[in-house]
Amino acid sequence: MNIISKQKNRGTKAIQIESLHKNFGEYKALNNLSLEVNRGEIFGFLGLNGAGKTTTIKTLLGMLRPTSGKLYMLGEKVHAGNYKLWDKVGYLEEATFYPDLTLIENLDIARRMQGVSDKESVNRVICKLGLEPHEKKKAKQLSLGNKQRLGLAKAMIHNPEIMILDEPINGLDPAGVAEIRNMLYDLAKNFGVTIFISSHLLEELAKVATRLGIIHNGHLIQEIEMAKLEQSLQKNLVLDGRDKNALKSVLKEQGYEFEETMDGHLKLTDGHALESPERLAELLVKSNQPPTLLRVITEDLEGYFLRTIGMVRGNI
């Protein structure tokens, strides 16, 4: 890792997108998208299919021209002619390779194209990703997981300062997912690599990202630090009893707001029930309607995501 150049650029953001618009004819793929990613951050980029994730990434890589707006990486303006910038950026959209070439030949081509003179970098990245047993295999003969590892190896062979990864853990088994997650975490924490990761695997993204951005209809609608996510997740009190109608009457009399869930329980949506569930339990017992279920349920990441983009998953 080039520490000197990293220090020189320390003041600038790793990625800056300012008021980005991208239209395909009448269709607005990106609509006033702005975001910033700090150095050494693992930024999770979340959105539905067609939300604008890939368009954002392709624009960020100079493959698409913005209709309006500006993009910077490491303080340098992004455009197709500024190809030297890709010396500091590693990119994986999907595992692509030359099928008739072996894994090691594919990596050697990536090394040369990245302008890395040290031939040992190929062996180092092979070791890092545990690809030693497969290095002589033709790329087309690799398993899906190892193809994905090859893609990652190509994206990091030149020790980039920024890695842009689109669905990097597709096809990996659970052990592989954990391994890649740890590796990305290590790259960010110990080597200051900025990682911009887009994935539909919400739970996995939550495990690795330090900050999350949610894109919907081409617009960034939410940014949240993962450390603060817990506070943002909606909590509900769910209860049930033997006589549901009597239970409902008691709740109505006491001014509690509730709704019935798909599995027949009652979900209390007002805050004071959540603050002191023991008082509600006491009230129900005194009203001769002791609850058979009383539980505080915290929304999962998927629920949070769907709520943020204004979609309803179902009443649970």
Binding site: R65, W86, Y91, T96, Y98, R112, M113, G115
Partner: protein, 238 residues
């Protein structure tokens, strides 16, 4: 980034692919079959090298057009079909260097194929007992065949451009089949010196091209190359 390094990658990608060997295998059949056909169609059954090569190479040069178009379409088109185009565009290499490297390896591969077809034609003639060998004659015929092949290679560049805008190698192959049909029709109508893809055949048969033919041929080749460079520099990669 040194262009030699990009060139090295391009050569390696081609030589290690199955298509490289397959092209030579397929195009070995052309001269063999045409050679046998040429001998069988001669009235006496006895044929000399002059007659054999004159008849054979006019057919071979046109066959080469299909081969050269396939090569240029494949070298560019495979980056789209293998989806490696995004890899290429996110490397610290100027796009013009990538295009230049590809055009150079296409030229080298095309010339190698032309040479290969000529050698196979000679070998087939030798086996079939063609008589009247003369080093000077073979040298002259070879020189004209290589120039003709180069002229055909020049007019494959619109196919190269089409491979890029269509993001694959099927469209240029379709185009060249249409062009071959048109070429026969136009040549029979006397327009061979004015249609870019029949001009090389004019040179093959006469050893000469007039200025208008040279201008048409050069313009076609340059248009294909400029279009390809411009496409790589300015087109969006969705």
């Amino acid at each position: 980034m040194n262009i030699l390094s990009v060139l090295h990658c391009e050569i390696r990608k081609i030589i290690r692919s199955n298509v490289f060997g397959l092209v030579f295998l397929v195009f070995a059949f052309g001269p063999i079959m045409m050679g046998v056909g040429t001998i069988l169609s001669s009235n006496t059954g006895d044929i000399n090298w002059q007659m054999y090569l004159t008849e054979l190479l006019s057919g071979l040069a046109a066959l080469g057009l299909i081969g050269y178009t396939f090569i240029s379409a494949w070298v560019f088109g495979r980056e789209f079909s293998d989806k490696t185009i995004k890899d290429l565009l996110s490397k610290p290499v100027s796009r013009s260097q990538i295009v230049m490297s590809k055009l150079l390896v296409i030229l080298a591969w095309d010339l190698l194929l032309a040479l290969f077809m000529f050698v196979v034609a000679l070998a087939a003639g030798g086996v079939l007992g063609v008589t009247g060998w003369s080093d000077a004659l073979i040298g002259d015929v070879f020189f004209r065949f290589i120039i003709t092949s180069l002229l055909f290679i020049v007019v494959t560049t619109p196919g190269t451009f089409l491979a890029n805008i269509s993001k694959g190698y099927l469209a240029p192959l379709g185009l060249i089949l249409v062009i071959v049909i048109f070429s026969n029709v136009l040549a029979s109508m006397g327009f061979a010196p004015y249609f870019p893809w029949t001009i090389p055949s004019v040179f093959q048969s006469t050893g000469f091209l007039n200025l208008s033919s040279i201008i048409i041929l050069a313009s076609t080749g340059i248009a294909g190359i400029v279009g390809t460079f411009a496409w790589w520099r300015f087109a969006e990669q969705q």
